[in-house]
């Protein structure tokens, strides 16, 4: 009996050793290309560092510089407004589409594929599409406005309209991420619940309010956190659409960071921007990370 325990223990130890061995390549790459750079960014944020020069210790100067820089503060506020608008609207839109899809249509698979396509498109291609559609002179959208008697709009070169446009295009591209989570979740709700509610005299709003919404709540919460996190860091789409312009009107925090680091070569203060963004992201997503770990890897 004792012998078996020893053998089992030995086998377990061997398993653990093999496990770590198999995990190590992936963990090493993650460490080398994400973790160490992350720590380095934290360090660099306390240095004055322009590309090609030796870093000089600067204490909190980069942070002081940032928080005294109205452009930075405004880019953070602008980013928060962007995140609120896009996450709220994509949730509403995604929920609406998911509930509608649950009604089952002929050629359902085809419609689902069409609805999901925008999320699988490169920011570069999305920008070609929308810079054409929103073009002042030849854009079909201005043409449609003309048909109903409205004047043409400077979609991408008027500050407020440009901000609205990047929100709109971002929502267009990312709503499928909501659909892909909420539509299957809606399908798992048994129809009998709705039938029972119908017999009890509930109208469709009441069954939505008291059946659909509570049962979808966990998925909605997770998706909200996740989408906040992802939309907070968006760079590619806004860069290809407006490059932060006109007149910085669409300069989100990531664009500010890009300019600071990759345009002016101030890698010290760019790292400080990065740290502020990481802190905000971690603050938002810590709950999500924990639940993710529990659901995929067990407690």
């Amino acid at each position: 009996m004792n012998q078996y325990v020893v053998v089992a223990n030995n086998k377990q130890k061997k398993d653990i050793r093999l496990g770590f061995l198999l995990l190590s390549p992936a963990l090493a790459v993650l460490t080398l290309f994400i973790c160490i750079p992350g720590i380095m960014a934290a360090g660099l944020s306390f240095f004055n560092y322009r590309l090609g020069q030796t870093p000089q210790f600067a204490g909190f100067m980069n942070y002081v510089y940032l928080f005294q820089n109205p452009d930075f503060i405004i880019s953070i506020i602008r980013n928060l407004i962007f995140v609120c608008i896009v996450v709220l609207l994509q949730l509403i839109l995604g929920l609406a589409v998911s509930l509608l899809l649950a009604k089952n249509f002929k050629f359902q698979k085809f419609w689902v594929a069409c609805l999901l396509t925008p999320m699988a498109i490169s920011p570069a291609v999305a920008s070609v599409i929308w810079r054409y559609l929103l073009n002042y002179n030849i854009g079909p959208i201005n043409y449609l406005l003309g048909l109903i008697g409205l004047p043409r709009a400077q979609w991408l070169s008027h500050p407020i309209l440009a901000f609205a446009s990047i929100c709109f295009v971002y929502i267009w591209q990312s709503t499928p991420h909501i659909i892909i989570a909420l539509y299957p979740a809606r399908l798992t709700i048994p129809e009998t619940l709705y039938e029972a509610a119908y017999i009890d005299g509930a109208n469709s709003f009441q069954s939505f309010r008291h059946i659909t919404l509570p049962l979808l709540k966990p998925v909605i919460i997770i998706m909200t956190i996740f989408r906040i996190m992802i939309s907070f860091r968006n760079f590619g789409l806004v860069w290809t659409l407006t490059r932060g312009g006109p007149n910085n009107a669409t300069e989100l925090a990531s664009i500010f960071l890009y300019n600071e680091g990759f345009r002016y070569w101030r890698f010290g203060s760019a790292s400080a921007v990065a740290m502020v963004l990481v802190l905000i992201t971690v603050f938002i997503s810590i709950k999500y990370i924990k639940s993710m770990q529990q659901s995929t890897f067990g407690a």
Binding site: Q12, I16, L18, G19, F20, L22, L23, A26, L27, V29, L30, P37, G38, A41, A96, L100, K103, F105, K109, W111, A113, C114, L115, L116, T117, I121, S122, P123, A124, S127, V128, I129, Y132, L133, I138, P140, Y143, W172, I180, A181, P184, A185, M229, F232, R233, F235, W239, T240, S254, Y258, F267, S271, A274, L277, V278, V282, M292, Q293, T296, F297
Partner: protein, 280 residues
């Protein structure tokens, strides 16, 4: 009376659905169609619904923009490269989490998820000077490794989920039949894991194929990928050096694999939603 009401409701549902589909897919369809239009038809202020389809734009792309096909080739290379790296790194890791799991791995699993939260552009700030110093910018290697790195987390979780679905009795049976852990993996698990591997490869491929940020920061003339070239072409179009049609045709060519993937795999995509939720 009642069936009439249902009929009206159904018409309303169909109309809403078609409006949503039009909103989501219409813009894409529009540039696909326009890529077969002559320039005068694209430019006509009144959009033309009926026109004679031509391949002028594709011809022009072939003749005048050989760099587009170079970029396409670069994209293919980094996509395949990143997929291979993901397979090599994530199958062993997923195997460890699924078959050898012990409490001692808990910290590593937290780590795998946590590093995924780091925004790419932030990691690039400290990496960029190093990449430059090592003369790694504008190489396939760095693009491949960056794409793979940012997909390790999702791919490992995905492959683990697929491995968990393969009954452990299968391995044990194989062990009784004289296989060791390694041969059991090769002969029993690997074939059963094929759908999972395909799923992981699809995810990383779509990411590498579409990515703008990384390629924008580290690729140069030698490794320029399709999205970067398309962005440059778009700039030329707006400065008047290139036709809209040419950039539309380039975009459509870039889109073809994506469209195939979406229309073939949407069923699986919807099923794998929990994993889809961790995607950017």
């Amino acid at each position: 009376m009642k069936s009439n009401k249902i009929g009206i409701l159904r018409i309303f549902e169909w109309t809403t659905l078609l409006l949503f589909v039009l909103g989501a897919f219409g813009p894409i369809l529009m540039i696909i169609i326009s890529s077969f239009k002559q320039d005068k038809d694209i430019f006509s202020y009144v959009p033309k619904l009926f026109f004679k389809p031509v391949f002028d734009n594709y011809e022009q792309l072939f003749l005048e923009r050989p760099d587009f096909f170079n970029a396409l080739l670069n994209s293919v290379i980094v996509t395949i490269g990143a997929s291979l790296v993901i397979i090599l790194l994530c199958i062993p890791a997923a195997y460890a989490y699924s078959r050898l799991y012990s409490k001692k791995f808990k910290l590593t699993s937290f780590y795998v998820i946590l590093v995924r939260m780091f925004p790419p552009i932030i990691v690039m700030v400290p990496l960029y000077p190093i990449i430059r110093n090592l003369a790694l910018n504008d190489t396939y290697f760095i693009l491949i490794i960056l794409y793979a790195t940012f997909e390790i987390s999702i791919s490992t979780m995905l492959l683990k989920a697929f491995l968990d679905d393969i009954p452990k009795e299968l391995d044990e049976q194989a062990c009784i039949d004289g296989c060791n852990r390694f041969t059991a993996f090769i002969y029993i698990i690997l074939p059963a894991l094929a759908p999972g591997i395909i799923a992981a490869v699809v995810y990383v491929s779509v990411f590498a194929w579409n990515d703008f940020t990384f390629a924008f920061l580290v690729s140069g003339t030698a490794t320029k990928t399709t999205p970067i070239l398309i962005m440059e072409m778009q700039g030329l179009v707006e400065e008047g050096y290139l036709n809209w049609g040419t950039v539309f045709s380039a975009s459509f060519i870039q889109l073809i694999p994506i469209l195939i993937f979406i229309f073939l795999l949407q069923q699986k995509l919807v099923k794998g939603f929990t994993l889809g939720a961790v995607k950017g």
